[in-house]
Symmetry: C2
Subunit: 99 residues, 2 copies
Amino acid sequence: MIFEIAEIEVKEGEEALFEAAVAKAVPLFKRSKGCRGLELQRSIETPCKYRLVVKWETVEDHVVHFRGAEEFQEWRKLVGPHFSAAPVVGHTRTVLAGF
Amino acid sequence: MIFEIAEIEVKEGEEALFEAAVAKAVPLFKRSKGCRGLELQRSIETPCKYRLVVKWETVEDHVVHFRGAEEFQEWRKLVGPHFSAAPVVGHTRTVLAGF
């Protein structure tokens, strides 16, 4: 299991629209191969900055299968208009689950 | 409940030492006021980059109580020598728990 971490900056004033678009997009992820969870976090210091955390079984499930699928096009159509910059995307794995 | 997200870059070759130091520091967080969880994630693309995710009841529990406590000094003594740059720290809250 790995995490996709997407840092997304949203146009000022479009935060509620963006959050609603992500909520609408949840089924796209839910039905994608290897997708095991999705959570949207919002920065407290910089409220136009969000962190989308998506759990995938493998990196390939995200970058090959999802990005090559129709679901990715639909996802970008829903949320893309609210981005103020290109998202910064990386992948992590948990190396220590302290408590 | 909020998340502290600390982006930490570790000196090349000191990754295992850093991970062991974080493991050793777990009790410092566990006994701190309002601390509800700790997880260490490691970047897949850039393995010297880590993301420490700490759950706190409030931002103040982290920036006022923890940073003002002896535990913070002990934490920095354990992990600080392995940092290659000053960590970048922010706070988030979950606005959507998709699934």
